[in-house]
Amino acid sequence: MMDDFILKAIIAGILVALAAGPLGCFLIWRRMAYFGDTISHSALMGVGLGIAFGTGSPWVIMLVCALVSGALLLLEKGGKFSTDTLLGILAHSALSLGLIIIALQDSLRQDMMFFLIGDILAIDMAGIIAIGLMTVVTLGGLFFIWKPLLSITVHEDLAQVEGVNLRATKIIYMLLIALLVAFAMKVIGALLITALMIIPAAAARNMARSPVQMAFYAMIAGTISVIMGIMMSSLWDVPAGPSIVLSALILFLIGCLLPSRLRI
């Protein structure tokens, strides 16, 4: 029989992967992979601030992520620096600020690794329920903005002429990512959550004939990665988060060998 804590870890990991796959598809379709990093680095600042105010609530993390996203939107409007540069500045400033805030609190210093790569084997039942709700809200929200977001991804001007609300759609998408990152911190940590969004999505590309299929296959690839990773982790006693990411990498490499199915 499988140990209880391993079963819980697998369930929590799968719930995160189910939300991360489809959100990650848009990250790579929109060439925004670095945005995922910026948000997850901001999450570290959220953790630090939350603990400074005496709470470990994911809502503090989400609020900080949302504020950094908002700052990005405002700075982009200024137009002086490319999005790329702005993301780099925001990501590393937030990361540094987060690390300093955490370091200032002596009690937390030794737990730094927990925030960077997560501690999936320590998830309890309440954690699973919280993550499950996050997954439902994230997938529901993404379903709601699916078509407009896809249209913006293909051509912003065309989408706008056809009546898509660009700003509202982008803000909702950013908030969904912030929500996912905030709740996935415990499971896979700030450094690795972007990997769980991007790698399964990329692995799904060659199998998919449509955007919906790609999102669906990304969920499956993420789920397999979580199961493989946690097995690997308990077999060889290595950290679970990095094992999940490496499992996703293996699936990606297999995916690369497959011929693209979108041919006539």
Binding site: W29, S151, V154, V161, E162, R209, P211
Partner: protein
């Protein structure tokens, strides 16, 4: 549906500057139902900018854009780069437009002759096919006004003729207005009712002349191009390096407001 006599879209005295540089100055024109208006002008003349203003994608500094109440606009952008990482078929691309059904998509694909690539990846169709795919997207939902940004750019002569015939057909059957940017300073579609020559201000506008009257181009193109007409215009002034208007006779700078007269574009 709007009243047929009033214009579908009316731009009045549109001016716009980007960080001190004048991009558009006092530009006015309108497009009515059943009318084809073609914008021509050299690179950097502000053709795309005035089109973006007409579409509501850009706000002018001064001037007014009036659209007939309740009209729908179909837009065909100039170029479109879709990442290979996005698995999207031609049909999927058309279905991205809000409130579009499979039947709507089939209808415009049949009209534009792209039904055979419906299931192809949108990244894998030829240049001419891609123009028709973009045209099909613009035609979805039977728009009152179609706005086309260099619709035949990068398409061979036969393909250009075909696209122009399609535009003429749609104008005729759907009685919509058409506003398009021509990729060529000297050539506009044969059915064009009004040519607007733009170089930050409106140099001239009016009906295109018949291609038969221009032996030089007639000889060059062999006279086979039913879908393409020539628009020539005479100039009484040119522009200095700052884009100011200079008359040929006196070299005095003159202010705008030369309606049906023309200007030349050096470089």
């Amino acid at each position: 549906m709007s009243d047929t006599s009033s214009p579908l879209i009316d731009l009045e005295n549109i001016s716009l500057s980007f960080s001190g540089r004048v991009v558009l100055s006092e530009v006015s024109f309108s497009v009515s139902r059943g009318e084809i208006v073609t914008l021509i002008g050299p690179n950097g003349a502000g053709k795309s900018t005035i089109m973006r203003i007409a579409l509501g994608l850009q706000q002018p500094d001064r001037g007014q854009v009036r659209r007939a109440p309740g009209i729908s606009i179909g837009y065909m952008p100039q170029k479109i780069m879709i990442e290979d990482i996005l698995p999207l078929t031609v049909r999927g691309f058309l279905l991205l437009r809000p409130e579009t059904t499979e039947a709507d998509a089939d209808e415009v694909m049949a009209l534009t002759g792209i039904a055979h690539v419906a299931k192809s990846p949108v990244q894998r169709v030829s240049g001419g096919e891609m123009q028709r795919v973009l045209m099909a997207r613009a035609l979805l939902g039977h728009p009152d006004l179609i706005v086309l940004d260099e619709p035949v750019q990068g398409v061979d002569i036969a393909g250009q003729e075909e696209l122009y015939r399609l535009i003429a057909l749609v104008r005729q059957t759907q009685n919509c207005g058409v506003l398009m940017i021509s990729h060529d300073l000297h050539m506009v579609m044969a059915g064009t009712d009004k040519v607007v020559c733009l170089n930050r201000h409106i140099c001239c506008s009016g009906a295109p002349e018949n291609i038969q009257d221009h032996p030089e181009y007639h000889a060059l193109l062999g006279g086979k191009l039913e879908g393409i007409a020539l628009y020539t215009h005479h100039h009484d002034h040119s522009h200095d390096s700052d884009g100011n208007v200079v008359t040929h006779k006196s070299k005095e700078k003159i202010v705008d407001g030369h309606g049906e007269e023309g200007c030349s574009h050096d470089g």
